[in-house]
């Protein structure tokens, strides 16, 4: 019943075909040609709000309200198990700055990002360069390297936890066989080896993603560039150095930013493989936040920790947003 009404009114919505605006003398170039009051315009476009409604509802509760609530939490001592939740001002923030385990978790997280991001990108680039050559079975190889990306992260973590097992793990077995080591290593329980072990697993799990993105990047490089380089007498290495790598710069930048953002949020591997140990050596920021929220039940302090992470990520997410906006056109093509 309301349908015809909605339809005839929205008929006039587009600027250029507007039925009743011209007589008011407003040209089509004006941003709001409709000079009627705000309520009238809202009413005229009410069906658009209906489209937005379900999304907005969920969004307001689980993102907007949650965000405000998160800020609120940081100013309170908010324990789930205690009935009163007093306002404590900036105490949580002060505590955080002086919390040695927090500082350590930041350093561990930077260690993880700094090691895993360049390594997966480097491996991905190498694989992409090789798979960009005219080979048989390229599809098969590509699938082999991409399979770990498709595997659920928890499964990868479980599997690698076993591979690192001190007594029965494959790593120790083959390293002992090859006489590279004389005694079995404890990998995940060794305070110097635990983080490198987690990094290695993450590189295995993530390199295939860099590979696919790099492959797309490689295929977008115009052939003429290589032809020109050949004519100038550039060898294979020089073509790689002066044509391929510079041409891949946007791809590299994109992968770098994405990689940093996701690696700073590392949690699953840590939870499954090391539980933050040994002696906090693999306690990352998110794992530390998890401990405060769901082991010590201090939601106020945990929320403060989350904002510390937010702050670290902010630089990179802002960069990512700019990149994705600038390149969404290029990517879609």
């Amino acid at each position: 019943m309301a349908q015809p009404l909605v339809r005839t009114e929205t008929d006039t919505a587009p600027v250029k075909t507007g039925g009743r605006w011209p007589r008011r003398g407003s040209g089509p170039a004006l941003p709001h040609p409709d000079r009627r009051g705000l309520p009238a315009r809202v009413w005229k476009e009410r069906s658009a709000y209906v489209f937005l409604m379900p999304g907005m509802l969920i969004f307001s509760v689980f993102t907007l309200a949650a965000l405000v609530f998160a800020v609120y939490l940081t100013f309170h001592r908010w324990s789930i198990i205690e009935p009163d939740k007093p306002f404590v001002g900036l105490a949580n923030y002060r505590d955080m700055i002086h919390d040695e385990r927090f500082i350590e978790s930041v350093l561990n997280t930077i260690y993880f990002s700094g090691a895993s991001v360049p390594l997966s990108m480097g491996t991905g680039l190498l694989l992409a360069l090789l798979l960009n050559l005219p080979l048989r079975m390229r599809g098969l190889f590509r699938m082999a390297f991409y399979l770990p990306v498709v595997t659920p992260f928890v499964v990868s973590a479980i599997l690698w936890k076993w591979l690192y097992n001190g007594d029965y793990g494959l790593f120790n077995y083959y390293l002992l066989q090859a006489h590279i080591i004389d005694d079995p290593l404890l990998w995940l329980s060794d305070k110097n080896l635990a983080m490198p072990a987690v990094v290695l697993m993450s590189v295995w799990a993530g390199a295939g993603f860099s590979m696919v993105v790099y492959l797309a990047g490689l295929q977008a490089i115009p052939r003429e560039l290589y032809e020109a380089a050949r004519i100038d007498g550039a060898g294979a290495w020089q073509r790689l150095r002066y044509v391929t790598i510079p041409a891949l710069r946007p791809t590299t930048l994109f992968l770098l930013v994405m990689g940093i953002i996701s690696s700073l949020q590392v949690f699953t591997q840590i939870f499954v493989m090391t539980s933050g140990g040994p002696v906090n050596k693999t306690t990352t920021m998110v794992y530390y936040m998890y401990l405060w929220a769901f082991k010590y039940f201090d939601m106020g302090y945990a929320s403060t920790l989350a904002f510390a992470l937010f702050l670290m990520l902010l630089v990179f997410t802002a960069l990512q947003l700019r990149l994705s906006r600038r390149e969404s056109g290029a990517w879609a093509a």
Binding site: L38, G55, L64, L147, P152, A332
Partner: protein, 327 residues
């Protein structure tokens, strides 16, 4: 590709027939047998290294405990067993003792499937609704709301995780809560809590909106003139034109929902309601020893991902190109 490379010699004998610049005559630049061999010699060991953990996983899922825990690992199960897989075939409730002794629960996978499919369907639909309004409608407040959406994409999930846990706990009228949202556990430990926060994604809306911008307004106008209602236009004109973007959104959402770990970990507690990743991870963290079962469960949890990947392989790569992300 391979065929072209193999026939290169013949092609070069008849110059100018193929694109002239494609393959120069200069032998040193030709991708010859030697380079090819070297490339394979680098690629093959790498591929084996990447695949070995999978081979081990599949093999171990068929090995009895004694064989897994032997000092020499067996790549081929010597005494194959289906025990691991059978451990998930239980029907009905498990006693606490059984849960401790290495029984799995098939419901973990059913839960994962149900939650992932529901989130995927609802999210793709609701995202598309919002994206359409942002892309094709002009209404007061549009830009402000859209910028708000964009801005919140910069907020990492961890920041809203803790407040959302408390919000979920205080949803009125659910889980024994009164109208003020207190007294019970709300949506904690329920599918509602798993699904509802995931049915809209700012990123998905952004992706779909970008895609919908390319739909010409004239098409929508034509539909309007033909008397189509607003929802009809959305369903019959806009949605069919957004195939690739909807597919990308759906694939990544499904993937993300299937392997989501943190959220189900903190809000679910009943052993029969948890999802597969949580069930498997808790198994490890609680130091239970039935690795046969664990490996079998890991294989089962990986299969849907691999199937989705194989079926939508082309879309997958397209999707990555389209969005530049993996769920």
């Amino acid at each position: 590709m391979g065929g072209v490379a193999g026939g290169a010699g013949v092609r070069e004998a008849a110059p100018e027939r193929t694109a002239p610049a494609r393959r120069p005559q200069n032998g040193s630049n030709h991708f010859g047998l030697r380079q090819k061999t070297v490339t394979y010699l680098v690629l093959a060991p790498l591929a084996i290294l990447f695949l070995a953990p999978f081979a081990w996983l599949i093999s171990a899922s068929f090995q009895p405990m004694g064989e897994i825990f032997s000092t020499t690992p067996h790549w081929i199960p010597q005494d194959p067993t289906m025990e691991g897989y059978k451990g998930f075939l239980n029907v009905g409730d498990l006693t606490k003792a059984q849960q401790g002794q290495g029984h799995g629960d098939w419901r973990w996978f059913a839960n994962s499937a149900f939650v992932a499919v529901t989130i995927t369907v609802l999210q793709t639909f609701f995202n598309a609704l919002c994206a359409y309004a942002f892309a094709k409608r002009r209404f007061p407040g549009r830009n402000a709301i859209f910028v708000l959406f964009l801005a919140t994409m910069m907020v990492p999930g961890q920041v809203t995780l803790i407040p959302n846990y408390l919000i979920i706990q205080h949803i009125p009228f659910f889980g024994g809560n009164d109208w003020m949202g207190s007294g019970g556990h709300g949506w904690l430990d329920s599918y509602w809590g798993l699904i509802m926060p995931g049915i809209v994604s700012a990123f998905g809306i952004f992706l779909l909106r970008q895609y919908m911008l390319s739909i010409p307004d004239q098409l929508l106008e034509a539909a309007r003139i033909d008397g189509a209602g607003e929802f009809r236009i959305f369903r019959s004109v806009v949605l069919p034109l957004c195939g690739p973007a909807l597919a990308a959104n759906a694939i990544f959402t499904f993937q993300g929902a299937w392997e989501d770990f943190f959220w189900p970990l903190i809000i679910m507690s009943s052993p029969d309601k948890i999802t597969a990743p949580v069930g498997l991870a808790l198994f490890v963290v609680q130091n239970r020893t039935s690795w046969t079962l664990l490996f079998a469960g890991s294989v089962i949890a990986t299969l849907p991902m691999i199937i989705v990947f194989l079926v939508f392989q082309r879309r997958f790569v397209q999707g990555i190109a389209l969005t530049g992300i993996k769920g």
